[in-house]
């Protein structure tokens, strides 16, 4: 089976070469920016760039990084998940209320919390795929539903406690490296590989780019899209558990702070909001960049308004620089 029977006149094609897209150029640039910021901060506040300090910042970044992984996957299929804020909170609240500070309750509590993520993801996915509700509306509504459910469940008063084991994971470290950073690194490695090189990743990107093509190629689009929302829900739940452990308790509204930063990190990381392009590497770099930037703004004693302005300008600068770098590539086609 071939287009031509005679093979001898076929020249050996060159080895596959990946065209470096925007997604590949951006992470490096963001890391470069971050390093520049660290150097700057070291000058303002000597000792800032010490290894232990940077590890602390990485630990802070890891929570946003984990939530943003779910958001990345959802945005790769052309969706958006606004429900992660209260899915995270609901999971954290349920976790502490079952765990009650006992390691023995840990498996059950974790399972129950993750079930929240799975369930909300399933409902989100079902509404979006089967009922054709716009993702932005579906997940916004789910966010409200989760908020209400959490209030009803707790009576507005989350209780319980964190078990010592999970607390150790979220706050402890090994050889100077926080466990959270180790965990994030492992998750990030797996995610980058999975999105780029696994069957699942290929399908995800295919559905995100052109659902008609992927459907005609035998891909179960509905399952992939619902799966993406379930995955995002699970990531929000896992982050909720870990973040509650980091904080020592669960609070109402603890997820709100992650919503816009997670979206910002994903888009700044080069994932297209229309799906099909991007990956987690860019998101990781963007999370890192955003954390360093906000830290520098905090230690610079800059007024709240000015911080917002600088953050916005920095994001613009990063994407414009990326655009200028990428311009050379576009012409080479």
């Amino acid at each position: 089976m071939s287009l031509v029977d005679r093979q001898e006149d076929v020249k050996e094609t060159s080895a596959p070469r990946r065209t470096p897209g925007l997604a590949a150029a951006l992470p490096g640039l963001l890391i470069l920016f971050s390093i520049g910021l660290i150097v700057f901060a070291e000058r303002v506040a000597p000792g800032f760039a010490s290894a232990s300090n940077l590890m602390q910042l990485l630990k802070l970044a890891s929570f946003l990084g984990l939530v943003a992984l779910g958001q990345t996957v959802v945005m790769l299929v052309g969706g958006i998940d606004l429900s992660l804020a209260w899915v995270l909170t609901a999971s954290a609240v349920l976790f502490t209320s079952i765990c009650l500070g006992q390691d023995a309750n840990l498996p059950l509590a974790a399972a129950a919390a993750i079930a929240i993520g799975v369930l909300s993801g399933l409902v989100n996915g079902f509404g979006i795929v089967k009922l054709r509700i716009a993702p932005i509306i579906m997940t916004l509504a789910m966010n409200n539903v989760m908020l209400g459910a959490t209030l009803v469940y707790t009576g507005g008063n989350p209780g319980g406690g964190i078990s010592p084991f999970i607390r150790a994971v979220a706050t402890g470290s090994i050889a100077g490296i926080p466990w959270m950073v180790v965990l994030w690194a492992v998750v990030a490695f797996c995610a980058i590989v999975a999105i780029r090189y696994s069957r699942w990743g290929r399908r995800l990107l295919a559905v995100g780019e052109n659902s008609r093509v992927s459907f005609l190629s035998g891909i179960n689009n509905d399952a992939i899209v619902i799966g993406a929302y379930v995955f995002s829900g699970i990531m929000a739940s896992v982050t909720g558990i870990l973040f509650a452990a980091f904080s020592g308790a669960s609070f109402l509204g603890m997820g709100d702070q992650f919503l816009l930063p997670a979206i910002a990190a994903v888009v700044l990381g080069g994932t297209s909001m229309f799906g099909g392009r991007g990956g987690y590497g860019g998101t990781v770099a963007a999370v890192f960049f955003a954390t360093i930037l906000s830290t520098v703004l905090v230690i610079g004693s800059i007024s709240a308004g000015m911080r917002n302005v600088i953050f916005g300008v920095a994001v613009l600068a990063a994407v414009i620089a990326q655009k200028l770098l990428a311009r050379g590539e576009d012409q080479s086609m």
């Binding site: 089976m1 093979q7 094609t13 596959p16 090189y197 005609l216």
Partner: protein, 501 residues
């Protein structure tokens, strides 16, 4: 007088057009022929303002012009129609006709009543039977292309560029275009016409320019250039026509059968396909042929009917189930249904067989896959820098090869082809004919829908002609002729006497 002198355009190291000079006097229909990648489209795009040449000049009626954009070209009196339609599918026919210069009322709102009356008049004048308020996306492809052509004509251009503008037109619609071009010629317009159908070139053009590898090979009066000579100039080899491979008689078992398929587009279709058989589907554009193929593949919802693959029923088919059952479907719309344009050649080739790739914990073994891709590229003679190149960087013909190879890798037992040679150059067509013939010889059943009746005659063992969502005629053996296909397509049946002769 349109004069191009010493036009150059290169992309990186590739010279798309090198040093092409030609001229066309008023009243000329100049045909541009050549294989895909020969530079015809690049040349036309330069004249139309879609791209800017690296060097050389364009002169129109003695004035040097440099079209910077399509809009600029229109202002200069150069209108163009491309194979990729530039109508907005979401909008209505009249909205598309008056996209940039609608009649407006004093307070700037569009005067809908006047627009309606002018649109109706234009459609009537051009003998086009479509409603002015119809959504363009709802029209059959042929009608969309006709609309696109009259929109360009209505701009009253000095120069009209038609790049594969007839590719979606059925036989009667081609007649319509012939009449239109004749009229324009008499009015003294200059027309540049690209087509892969030699018969259209002969019919429409009084002059023809042959391009190969970006260079002008010959420029002649159409009636002085034989088809064989033209092909020789285009390919650089001697040979005639598309050179269809020999048909081999088939005696296989039934591979696929369908009973009474009904949907909103199909009115009770029954089909039997044998192993090793190439079954052609013909007829006017939009008579349910594409829907029938999609129905087999689970991409078009059926209201009733049964499909059997071999002995096994294919219940509630989806593409996924169909692929598992051994079907493969090569869609007509390469760019919207066939390929992921943001992905590499390699990722496109393996998309339908991800399940069969060797993996470790779900992660695809890169070397294994790269090997598969390299072989596929080599087999299909895809012109690419490698499996990692973006598929959108390839020329149309090479994209088509990638698309076909994607489905051949799935090793189907039944292959469904939806007009796969549309807009493809002669060389690639020939390769496609040969490969389909060879897999049919290996026992694969093929259903092949084509808008080109001559192609059906060349490749198919048996032809079903469809009209209005049902099979209007079945032609076998010696009955498969161009005349009968066209006759059945238009009249709904073949002349009685001959069928039983």
């Amino acid at each position: 007088m349109l004069r191009l002198s010493d036009i150059h355009k290169s992309y990186g190291a590739t010279h798309a057009v090198r040093s092409v000079s030609l001229e066309a006097a008023p009243g000329t229909v100049l045909g541009l022929v050549g294989e895909n990648g020969a530079g015809k489209s690049t040349l036309i795009k330069i004249v139309s303002g879609a791209i800017v040449a690296d060097g050389g000049g364009i002169e129109l009626d003695g004035q040097a012009v440099v079209p910077r954009s399509t809009r600029h070209a229109l202002a200069l009196g150069i209108a163009s129609v491309f194979q990729e339609l530039t109508l907005v599918r979401e909008l209505s026919v009249e909205q598309n006709l008056f996209l940039t210069d609608p009649p407006v009322r004093p307070w700037l709102s569009i005067d809908r009543r006047r627009r309606r009356s002018v649109a109706t008049e234009i459609l009537a004048r051009h003998d086009l039977d479509i409603a002015p308020d119809a959504r363009v996306g709802d029209l059959p492809l042929g009608r969309q292309q006709m609309l696109e052509i009259i929109r360009a004509v209505e701009r009253k251009p000095r120069v009209l560029l038609l790049d594969e503008a007839s590719s979606a037109l059925a036989a009667t619609e081609v007649d319509w275009l012939a009449a239109l071009l004749t009229k324009l010629r008499q009015q003294g317009s200059i027309i540049l016409f690209i087509s892969h159908r030699w018969d259209e070139i002969v019919r429409f053009c009084n002059r023809v320019a042959v391009l190969r590898n970006g260079e002008l090979m010959a420029m002649a009066e159409t009636d002085k250039l034989s088809e064989a000579e033209a092909v020789r100039l285009m390919t650089g080899q001697s040979g005639t026509d598309e050179a269809f491979p020999n048909k081999v008689a088939v005696h296989g078992d039934v591979a696929l059968s369908a009973r009474e398929l009904r949907s909103d587009q199909l009115a009770g279709v029954s089909v039997d396909l044998r192993r090793g058989e190439i079954l052609g589907l013909g007829g006017l554009v939009g008579q349910g042929q594409g829907h029938l193929l999609e129905a087999f593949f689970g991409a078009h919802g059926l209201s009733s009917g049964a499909i059997l693959v071999g002995e096994l029923p294919l219940d509630r088919p989806t593409p996924r189930r169909a692929i598992r059952a051994g079907l493969a479907y090569v869609p007509q719309e390469r760019k919207t249904e066939g390929l992921l344009l943001l992905k590499s050649v390699g990722q496109n080739i393996t998309l339908a067989i991800l399940d069969r790739l060797r993996t470790l914990l779900g992660v695809i073994e890169p070397r294994d896959e790269a090997d598969l891709i390299r072989k596929a590229i080599a087999r299909a003679k895809v012109r690419t820098r490698g499996g990692g190149e973006l598929v959108s960087n390839l020329s149309g013909g090479n994209q088509q090869k990638v698309l076909l190879e994607k489905w051949l890798l799935a090793k189907p037992s039944i292959l469904l082809l939806n007009d796969v040679t549309r807009g493809v150059d002669v060389g690639t067509k020939r390769q496609i004919y040969e490969v389909i013939a060879s897999i049919a010889r290996e026992g694969v059943g093929v259903i092949w829908y084509s808008t080109d009746a001559r192609e059906l005659v060349g490749v198919a063992h048996r032809v079903l002609v469809m009209l209005g969502g049902r099979v209007s005629a079945e032609l076998t053996g010696a009955e498969v002729t161009e005349d009968r296909i066209v006759h059945a397509a238009v009249m709904g049946s073949t002349p009685q006497a001959e069928v039983h002769a």
